[in-house]
């Protein structure tokens, strides 16, 4: 079996995952088109982060398959999936706190991953140019020598986005990238994402519908580990079932 390429840049079929009897992902299927920004929404505990975990290899599915460009990547190690062009940003921002901002970005520039070859390299070719460009994009040029653990929350989010950009992946999995950001910071992130989606495929997990409105090409609603609805934001907002399980609860926000 192989994934057909039409609409099948990333193809997920019949994914299941349970944690100790708790069925978190329940027969979930999804097609992700190239150079689209697809938002994954759903109430807390719907299984959004677990879906990202399964795609990026942090969790192995109990059954089901994931194809990337027709290659079955189900059950591969995290580093193997990353090498195939999958970059990930965590819900709880995960930067290397003891390293400087510059070092965080440098280590994320991972074109050469071989330990042996890296022993004989003091610098990675092309890293400096890319670093300067990414630092400008995420507004951290003036903070390069700061220890990452000392950054503000918003800056930490950006640093991690910057790390994903340094990786130069084909597909970006961004788990709640604007959580805790100020209005201004969110605006800038919207700008970055809208530029990025012209050249990259993005899956973005988000709660805030106002933010989703500004960036999403397609919205996928996840409910209790299964796909509830998919389409443009207008379609989704009209959908009765979605209103019932999700937007209803979101109003209280």
């Amino acid at each position: 079996m192989s994934g057909d390429m039409i609409g099948g840049f990333l193809k997920i079929r019949n994914l299941r995952k349970s944690f100790g009897g708790n069925q978190v992902i329940n027969d979930f299927s999804l097609d992700v088109t190239e150079r689209r920004l697809q938002c994954l929404v759903g109430p807390n505990g719907a299984g959004k982060t677990t879906t990202i975990d399964l795609i990026s290899g942090r969790q192995k599915p109990d059954s089901g398959h994931i194809w990337l460009r027709g290659d079955d990547i189900t059950g591969l190690g995290e580093h193997e999936i990353a090498r195939r062009g999958v970059g990930r940003k965590f819900q709880i921002p995960a930067v290397l706190k003891g390293l400087s901002v510059r070092e965080n970005l440098e280590v994320a520039f991972s074109r050469e991953t071989s330990a042996l070859r890296n022993m004989f390299r003091l610098r990675a070719p092309g890293c400096d140019e890319k670093l300067a460009e990414v630092a400008r994009t995420v507004r951290l040029t003036g903070r390069l020598d700061t220890e990452a653990g000392l950054l503000s929350h918003g800056e930490t989010q950006w640093l991690e986005i910057g790390m994903v950009l340094m990786q130069d992946p084909e597909i970006l999995l961004l788990d709640e990238p604007v959580a805790g950001m100020t209005e201004n910071e969110i605006e800038l992130t919207v700008e970055i994402l809208n530029r990025l989606k012209k050249t990259h495929t993005i899956i973005l997990v988000e709660h805030d519908m106002n933010f989703v409105r500004k960036i999403a090409d397609i919205v996928t609603v996840l409910h209790m580990g299964a796909l509830l609805a998919q389409g443009s934001l207008e379609d989704i907002e009209k959908d009765e079932r979605v209103r019932a399980v999700y937007l209803g609860t979101e109003d209280a926000h």
Partner: protein
């Protein structure tokens, strides 16, 4: 922006060069061969501390069993020296005393000096590669890994004591003559022996320093912070951990082999838990985050033990333990952390103002 000179790479290399210049000229200042031998032994301890700093300081991999590689290296070298002194076809006297009639098969390669020395270095390294590989692929880390190294160390000590006919048990091996290389005998009590240890220490420390500044070193420092995160960047973390652990093992094996040359003696004491823990204490007191300071830590503690230890005898171990606690509590970066702090203060005094946030606090600080 004010910079702490401690973090300036050029200044770091200058500091390394200056320290090695100082230790390098010692034989020009003294003719005391006993002193030179003792100082060369400190060099060996320094190398052991550097090996611990490479693994623990950069990679955060605490290894309480570095005596595994040190001891195996020392045994390999002692076996080589023992066979150098044997007439062809004979077996070491202790084997005859233990009712062996022929040389055990694993002793055979040690007839050949080159092969013997190679085995002294490669057997421990291979052991580290296999053991480390198994542990790191299974994602054993932190205290669990440290305890595993301790367990292996104790097991090795037991094995070497138990295999009396092959290892001479607790008595160990004392080759009757010094190591002969290319027809020249290396007198352990001579400037030659000192220079050899010095050269080894220099090569290992500078190589390790270069390694920490390479892309490999960057990944290793990153995985000390968060191995999970580093995997998602595409690096095979277990490979990096295994390699840095095995390289530190190779250095410890070289230290052990030199130790056997200097003392013409090896025994299961090299596998004692206390010895391996002392090595960790040297690195901690000197500052595990810095290869150079870890080495100076070994010099200081061992030097103090030689001169003050005689006066305090049994209380020395208490003094050492107490100093360790003080360092862990008040100076987690060791002497290196203190140097970093003082240089940072100095730089900001010079600049006439304190830096607010940009200044990185102690990188070597415990996490």
């Amino acid at each position: 922006m004010l910079d702490n000179p401690y973090h300036n790479k050029t200044l770091q290399w200058l500091a390394y060069a200056a320290v090695f210049l100082l230790i390098g000229i010692v034989p020009l200042l003294t003719d005391d061969d006993f002193l030179l031998n003792q100082l060369a032994t400190y060099g060996v301890y320094g190398l052991l501390a550097v090996s611990i700093s490479l693994c623990w300081g950069s990679g955060g991999i605490l290894n309480l069993g570095q005596g595994i590689a040190f001891g195996l290296g020392a045994y390999g070298m002692a076996m080589t020296m023992q066979m150098q002194s044997q007439a062809p076809g004979t077996i070491p006297p202790f084997m005859a005393n233990n009712a062996l009639e022929t040389l055990p098969i694993f002793w055979e390669p040690f007839w050949n000096t080159g092969l013997g020395i190679a085995l002294a270095l490669l057997v421990p390294t291979l052991f580290y590669l296999i053991f480390g590989g198994l542990m790191f692929v299974a994602r054993v880390s932190g205290p669990f890994f440290a305890i595993m190294t301790l367990a292996i160390l104790s097991a090795l000590a037991t094995v070497f004591v138990a295999l009396q006919p092959y290892t001479n048990g607790v008595n160990g091996i004392s080759p009757p003559t010094g190591l002969v290389i290319a027809g020249t005998k290396i007198d352990p009590y001579s400037s030659t022996a000192y220079w050899l240890v010095f050269a080894l220490l220099l090569i290992c420390t500078f190589t390790a320093k270069l390694l920490t500044q390479s892309r490999f070193g960057l990944v290793v420092r990153a995985l000390k912070d968060d191995p999970e995160r580093v995997r998602f960047l595409g690096y095979n973390v277990a490979v990096y951990e295994t390699l840095v652990y095995a390289l530190s093992g190779l250095m410890a094996a070289a230290a052990g082999a030199s130790f056997a040359v200097l003392t013409q003696y090896v025994s299961p004491a090299q596998f004692e838990v206390g010895f391996s823990i002392s090595a960790v204490i040297w690195a901690a007191i000197g500052g595990r985050g810095s290869l150079l300071w870890a080495m100076l830590g070994a010099f200081t503690v061992q030097g103090a033990q030689s001169y003050a230890g005689d006066a305090f005898l049994n209380t020395w171990i208490l003094i050492l333990g107490f100093s360790f606690i003080l360092v862990v509590r008040f100076l987690p970066g060791g002497f290196a952390g203190l140097a970093e702090l003082l240089l940072g203060r100095l730089a900001s005094l010079r600049g006439g103002r304190r830096e607010e946030f940009g200044q990185a606090p102690a990188k070597g600080a415990a996490k």
